[in-house]
């Protein structure tokens, strides 16, 4: 596994008579340059001391640092139920969801920020109402089938119609678009009549039409079932249940640079693998911090880098990172031992004993720490 170097300004540090050149991260270098000259050297050295040594098993340290506190959070995870807010998955269940790289999170949700012009309560509420999905069923008082005249009668609630700021005619138009084989017309102040275009109409046809009409989306963005407007710091933020980042980002009034969703695969498809990697880090850290766990960011960053190594988000576990290791013995050591060993035997796989697990299994010195190095003799 190759980790890209943290490149920035270089510093010469004298260690045991040899001058070695190291590069310090940009932020660290900035902090150091504020100090008096004499101190600077000392702190550069301090940075070197704090670095992991070559061969240190950092993956194992990361795994421990994340999973030990995560197990402690289980007990606290379910106590947010019943509050007046969006109930999104939190705590251990959310962590498992992230690391398993679920295709769809159990509670997909968006955080919508607004641009300067719309960053106030009224505009936020208006945009929120525009986003929320409204189906015909939600604004309907009743629906019935008239068997005498073979038609479907939909009675719309006028108050609810006012709430979403629409006319009955508009609603009828949308229904017409969605139900191709239906004749749609408005009757009276609040009735929409559906008649089939077919010559011979069966009751079943009408029943189907009625069910279909109920589900027609009248307003909003599909999939967004709940919206809440909140003030976070100086910003008005719309939180949603359900995601559709593609549509929301191009909406008028939305700040497309900050708006995000917690749906990692959606972000990967729309904004690329690097955005997905950043989202994994962000979501994991947020979940951990909410539970009062102060695991170092670096561990989470390492996990996110490994999950996105191949160009798509892969789960940590049987069907992802652990199940695709090159070494047979390392795979067999994890899960499904017999499956991996029999498959390897059948296809004549070779394990070159480069992995840690393989070496532990056969009783060799594993290639970590001082075990990474071999003695060589220079022939003269």
């Amino acid at each position: 596994m190759t980790k890209a170097k943290k490149k920035t300004k270089s510093a010469d540090v004298n260690e045991g008579g040899n001058t070695i050149q190291i590069r310090l991260p940009k932020r660290y270098e900035e902090e150091i340059s504020k100090l008096p000259k004499k101190e600077q050297e000392k702190w550069r050295k301090r940075y070197l001391e704090m670095l992991y040594d070559v061969g240190e098993a950092i993956g194992m340290v990361a795994a421990h640092s994340i999973s030990e506190p995560a197990t402690q959070t289980t007990l606290r995870a379910y106590h947010a139920e019943g509050r007046v807010q969006l109930v999104t998955t939190k705590g251990l269940p959310r962590l498992i969801e992230i690391f398993d790289a679920r295709k769809v999170p159990s509670t997909p949700s968006m955080e919508i920020y607004l641009d300067e012009e719309h960053n106030n309560k009224e505009a936020a509420k208006k945009i929120a109402a525009e986003i929320k999905e409204t189906t015909l069923e939600q604004i309907m008082k009743e629906d019935s089938i008239d068997l005498m005249e073979m038609k479907v009668e939909l009675v719309v609630d006028e108050e609810k119609l006012k709430e979403i700021d629409m006319e009955l005619e508009e609603v009828a138009k949308i229904i017409k678009k969605n139900l191709r084989n239906a004749e749609v017309r408005v009757e009276g102040g609040n009735k929409i009549i559906l008649e089939s275009k077919k010559e011979e109409v069966s009751i079943r046809d009408l029943q189907q039409m009625r069910v279909k009409a109920r589900g027609v989306q009248i307003k909003g963005i599909k999939g967004i079932t709940q919206v809440i407007v909140e003030k976070v710091g100086d910003d008005w933020v719309i939180r949603t249940l359900g995601t559709n980042l593609k549509k929301v980002l191009t909406m008028n009034g939305v700040d497309p640079t900050r708006t995000r969703s917690n749906h990692i695969f959606e972000v990967m498809k729309l904004l690329g693998i690097e955005a997905a990697r950043n989202l994994i880090v962000e979501e994991t850290l947020r979940t951990l911090r909410e539970q009062g766990v102060d695991t170092d960011e670096r561990h989470v960053m390492l996990v996110a880098d490994i999950m996105t190594f191949s160009g798509v988000v892969k789960p940590i576990g049987r069907y992802g990172v652990a199940g695709e290791k090159a070494s047979v013995l390392a795979r067999a050591n994890f899960e499904e031992t017999i499956k991996h060993l029999t498959n390897a035997a059948a296809s004549g796989e070779v394990d070159d004993l480069k992995s840690i697990f393989a070496n532990v299994i056969v009783g060799n010195l594993p290639p970590i720490g001082t075990g990474m190095f071999k003695l060589g003799i220079k022939e003269e």
């Binding site: 890209a4 991260p25 497309p256 693998i273 950043n278 989202l279 190594f309």
Partner: protein, 94 residues
């Protein structure tokens, strides 16, 4: 006339999308390395392209840059710990 205006419209949509993707907070700066830079990098790190992390050619950002399989992309990330960190990905088919 009709065909032309349609085409302009679709181009405009692509441009909006491009801006949105590249300016989004979650998307760090991507740039394609020149051949010399790529060679120098591989020498410096003493690795082959196969050992680098990958990015698909169909990745939205790689697509905008017009990256082809085999190119190396330099990614300048904003890091909470280091301020700025540099990462490399090699473009693969897909």
């Amino acid at each position: 006339m009709g065909a032309l205006s349609n085409r302009n419209k679709s181009l405009a949509v692509v441009n909006i999308k491009k801006d949105i993707i590249l300016n989004h907070e979650l998307v760090p700066k991507h740039e394609i390395l020149s051949e010399e830079e790529a060679k120098k990098l591989l020498e410096e790190l003493n690795i082959t392209k196969k050992q680098l992390p990958r990015i698909y050619a169909s990745d939205p950002v790689a697509k905008i840059l017009g990256a082809k399989p085999g190119d190396i992309i330099r990614i300048t990330r904003k890091s909470p710990t280091a301020g700025e960190s540099i990462y490399y990905r090699v473009v693969v088919k897909g």
